[in-house]
């Protein structure tokens, strides 16, 4: 495709691109494919899908704008980028909604065909932003994407409506040229994805080629760019979202535990993709039920756990409220259960498609009675795989429900993941009870369901179908050992303490908290303590602080209950502690209460992740360093 007039190619070390359009414009598909191509090409990538809760909000309005941000680089990166330097806007609303986040002097590629009076009105523009001088600080490329795509459609006799819908592929082609992405990978993908409808397949691939050719020949662009592959660790990589990683982690854990998966789940954003993914893989012996409600989803899972399955339920937002009673029952029954909560903005229906970390205290305390549960939180999309395995390990070993707290950002965000060697995964083999474990007063060998393992305090898992171990369990308080219903005051107190001690004891079975402090523990003045999806922004922010020559430490919790056994020591090693969270300060409350440290909270509840610059600014302020000096590189290499 190269010609003598092809513009020069400029090398970049990184770029952040945001694709934005109507929710029906296919921006998520476009962004995802651009990411896949970049990953396959060898870049490091990180993504931030950002879409409305409405399936199709009124076209052309700000409410209906759907965007996908992708960060590609030639070095390892931690976030989808604070602000895009390139915005592809398919209409005025997409421009208006996303312009504030674009870096000054950034590039705007607009579908000029969509810029008319009616569209301005819908987007709330009083005039044409392309001509009123308001974009003078940006480099603007006006490209007639719709009409050029329609032209292509006319040539091959596709209905105008179908042709019009292919304009996102034109945009993908254009941006693929602009960043020197391989063409064939995307053409192959289009051929496979639209195999079932040849006409759609044809127009999409033609539109893609047309967009690519337009960039090459239109003499609109002075240059195009190249982002070289990143020097990632040796290995085989795939690009993965958090929800897929969770589903695969469960499958891996099921394989390692030799227990079939049972998933009881009710569809809810942004957790449904786990149900979809697990439903696809019946060849692994996975049983899934789309239950009649959230309560039935977890109820069926508890029934399956009683029967010896690896029982899982998945949910988000209001769904975790509905499951609370059943989680309490699982605490009392002491059966293994994995409860996955993909946190989203709340309260109530809140922000279904936006991220938040505001269910931590609910996970800790959201049940009546003293009912402790272990909590595990992944930090990146690919880390969801490890977190799922860890949740299964704890649940099966300690016969307890485990709450796994992911969130909307991790669920839909993606990153390259170096595949683990499946032979190296931990063995999670469980032992079921097979014989009586107690001699009763009459000297008979009997089975008592609440006789505990001395080390773990876990009770036996005795499956129906095992002769001689017939027993009854229930939500009523049980007598220690026999499991018979007991209202005895001393026994109740003992059982409450036993259940608490069992969960607290897990601290000795999880890794100590690692601290990223180049000067060793206590070397820096400020420690940033995070949990879950703030990992990328905190780690990137910390790199930026260090790039200025200042000292800062970072520790990130995967286990929220119990905490790692050295957390108190780590906290006390630093003069100042900063806890950034996408809530109003939930972890900070826990560590202040538990360790009496004067930890400071940094909060953000906008439905979007922290930016690295926010972390940097907060740390610099604590260090008394002026943050207004020259802006550090956004994602400096470590």
């Amino acid at each position: 495709m190269s010609t003598a007039t092809q513009p020069p190619t400029i090398e970049l070390d990184r770029v952040v691109i945001r694709f934005a359009g109507d929710s029906g414009d296919g921006m998520q598909l476009t962004g995802t494919q651009f990411t896949t191509v970049s990953s396959l090409f060898g870049n490091d990538t990180a993504t931030l899908p950002d879409f409305p809760a409405e399936i199709r909000a009124p076209a052309g309005t700000l409410a209906g704008v759907s965007a996908f941000q992708v960060h590609i680089s030639d070095h390892d990166i931690l976030t989808p980028g604070d602000s895009p330097s390139v915005l592809v806007a398919m209409n005025p609303a997409a421009l208006k909604a996303n312009l504030p986040s674009v870096t000054g002097g950034g590039t705007l590629i607009v579908n000029v065909d969509a810029f008319d009076e009616r569209a301005f009105e819908k987007a709330g523009y009083s005039g044409n932003p392309l001509t009123d001088g308001s974009l003078s600080g940006y480099t603007v490329y006006e490209v007639p994407m719709t009409s050029l795509t329609m032209e292509v459609g006319k040539e091959i006799g596709v209905k105008p409506r179908d042709a019009e819908r292919a304009k996102n592929f034109f945009a993908l082609g254009l941006v693929s040229w602009l960043y020197s992405r391989p063409v064939d990978t995307t053409l192959e993908w289009i051929a496979k994805r639209f195999e079932a409808s040849p006409a759609i397949c044809e127009i999409n691939s033609r539109a893609f080629r047309a967009g690519h050719a337009f960039g090459e020949t239109a003499e609109l662009f002075e240059s195009n760019y190249q982002v070289r592959p990143a020097a990632l660790h040796k290995g085989t990589y795939t690009n993965i979202t958090g929800n897929t990683a969770l589903a695969w982690g469960l499958i891996a854990a099921s394989h390692q535990a030799r227990l079939p998966i049972f998933l009881g789940s009710y569809p809810i954003t942004p957790a449904s993709d786990i149900l979809h993914e697990l439903s696809k893989h019946k060849e692994f012996g996975i049983r899934t039920i789309q239950a009649e409600d959230e309560i039935a989803g977890i109820g069926a899972a508890i029934g399956a756990a009683f029967g010896g399955s690896l029982a899982v339920t998945t949910t988000s937002g209001p769904g975790i409220d509905l499951k609370s009673e059943s989680i309490g029952m699982a605490v009392s029954l002491e059966l293994p259960l994995v409860v996955i909560d993909i946190q989203r903005g709340g309260p109530s229906t809140g922000l279904p498609t936006k991220t938040e970390q505001s269910d931590l205290l609910h996970a800790m305390y959201g049940r009546h009675g003293e009912s402790p549960v272990p909590i595990v939180a992944p930090r990146t999309p690919s880390h969801c795989f490890d977190a799922a395995i860890e949740a299964v390990r704890i649940a099966t070993k300690y016969r307890t429900p485990v709450l796994l707290l992911s969130d909307g950002y991790l669920a839909n965000g993606s990153e390259p993941w170096r595949l683990p060697d499946v032979e190296e995964l931990p063995d999670l083999q469980v032992e079921f009870a097979s014989e009586p474990n107690h001699t009763d007063a009459d000297g008979r060998e009997v089975f008592w369901p609440y006789v505990r393992d001395e080390r773990t305090l876990a009770r036996p898992w005795a499956l129906p179908g095992t002769p001689g171990l017939e027993h009854r369990i229930g939500g009523l308080e049980k007598e220690d050992g026999s499991g018979n219903v007991s209202y005895d005051p001393e026994n109740h107190e003992k059982m409450v303490h036993l259940r608490a001690a069992k969960i607290a004891g897990i601290a000795s079975d999880i890794p100590a908290l690692e601290v990223d402090d180049p000067d060793g523990l206590g070397g820096a003045q400020v420690l940033v303590l995070g949990w879950g999806s703030t990992y990328g922004a905190i780690a990137a922010g910390v790199r930026r602080v260090r790039a200025r020559g200042a000292k800062v430490a970072h520790a990130h919790l995967m286990h929220l209950n119990p905490f790692p056994r050295n957390l108190g020591e780590v906290l006390r090693s630093y003069a100042q502690v900063l806890v950034p969270e996408a809530n109003l300060g939930q972890l900070v409350r826990l560590v202040r209460a538990e360790f009496l440290v004067d930890a400071r909270s940094l909060t953000k509840v906008q439905g979007v992740p922290f930016r690295a610059a926010q972390i940097e600014e907060a740390v610099l302020e604590m260090l008394g360093v002026d943050s207004n000096t020259s802006e550090a590189e956004e994602d400096v290499a470590s």
Partner: protein, 340 residues
């Protein structure tokens, strides 16, 4: 779980060591006795039998059976039992529930378990009152019922549990009562034999909070006049001299007639196996409540694929199509690249 012969058992083998704690005179005792005495006749193993219950007086049932059991939370037993039955088709899973448990807080789970046709034997103890919470009206209490929570009478139209189950696409629907052990056992036996969700409503007397609720149907003196026995393949008739019968009128509606007036040939012959649940539904509504002639017996018993069987079939198909699950293959299924 094995091919060896099922051991011979007696009622005692199925009775746990726990003291039964229902009120003296409660109808639950006779239901428990009926089940414990029936179990040795069913040719099933104790270890493969599981009783799952929710909350309420009836829900204590699993504690008294020397089998596997779970006394769960209010209303959720059908959901919990679904998860167990779907993952362990080798087990015999029974659900014991009450009118509040199954039809109020757990109504959603009941109808969906029936619709899915999960292999469960569901025994609904209907006493038309909340007993464990000491006497509030239930979803089957009659309109105008005066209770602690309805001192001026209930304003609510009750559910007819049999109509509800038929409307929920249940494949086996029956009604029995606590005054007739033989009928209970025969009905439970049929329900247990049914592959799929079997629903049995049991008229059960709460002698403390709602004594005599079913007296007009199940009382020894009243039975002949008001209990309409449903017998598959037989004309539907009742009365001390079988002088009354049920007729399907030209308008498509069922009504009760004197056999002497319409003749024996005109009587509706009961057929449990009708695909169309319409007539079964009409039968369930012959009486407005348990104070006028009311059918007792199996309303409907039809075959439909059982849920766990259908799911197991899908798993088998996937295995044949894709081969057994390959973890390493799964991880590379989304496209990979290699960094040297």
């Amino acid at each position: 779980m094995t091919d060896t012969q099922v051991p011979v058992t007696t009622r005692k083998d199925w009775t746990s060591d726990q003291e039964v704690r229902w009120c003296p005179g409660c109808g639950d005792y006779s239901i428990l006795a009926a089940v414990q005495m029936l179990m040795p006749e069913l040719g099933v193993r104790r270890e493969s039998t599981v009783f799952v219950s929710g909350i309420g007086c009836a829900a204590r049932f699993p504690y008294y059976m020397d089998t596997y059991g779970m006394h769960s939370i209010h209303g959720r037993a059908p959901a919990i039992a679904t998860g167990l039955a779907v993952t362990r088709p080798d087990l015999d899973v029974w659900v014991v529930t009450g009118d509040g448990d199954a039809l109020s807080i757990g109504g959603n789970h009941l109808i969906h378990a029936l619709r899915r046709n999960v292999n469960l034997t569901i025994l609904l103890f209907n006493n038309q009152i909340y007993g464990l919470t000491k006497g509030q009206y239930s979803p089957t209490s009659e309109l105008g019922k005066v209770t602690k929570s309805t001192p001026f009478g209930s304003l609510e139209t009750p559910f007819n549990p049999v109509s509800l189950a038929l409307g929920a696409e249940a494949t086996f629907v029956a009604r029995t009562h606590d005054m007739d052990r033989k009928h209970m056992q025969e009905t439970f036996r049929r329900a247990h034999e049914h592959r799929g969700a079997a629903f049995v409503e049991i008229y059960q007397n709460c002698n403390v909070f709602n004594d005599g609720a079913f007296e007009k149907i199940t009382g020894r003196d009243a039975r002949a006049d008001n209990l309409i026995p449903l017998v598959h393949g037989a004309p539907i008739r009742f009365g001390a001299d079988a002088q009354h019968g049920v007729v399907l009128g030209p308008d498509g509606r069922l009504r009760i007639c004197a056999v002497s007036e319409v003749g024996e040939e005109a009587l509706l012959v009961h057929d449990e196996s009708r695909e169309d649940p319409g007539l079964a539904f009409q039968l369930s509504r012959l009486a407005a409540g348990p104070y006028e002639p009311t059918p007792i017996g199996v309303f409907r018993a039809v075959e439909r694929p059982e849920y766990a069987d259908a799911m197991a079939h899908q798993l088998l198909e996937a295995n044949e199509r894709k081969g057994p699950g390959d973890l390493a293959g799964l991880l590379t299924s989304g496209g990979t690249w290699t960094v040297e």
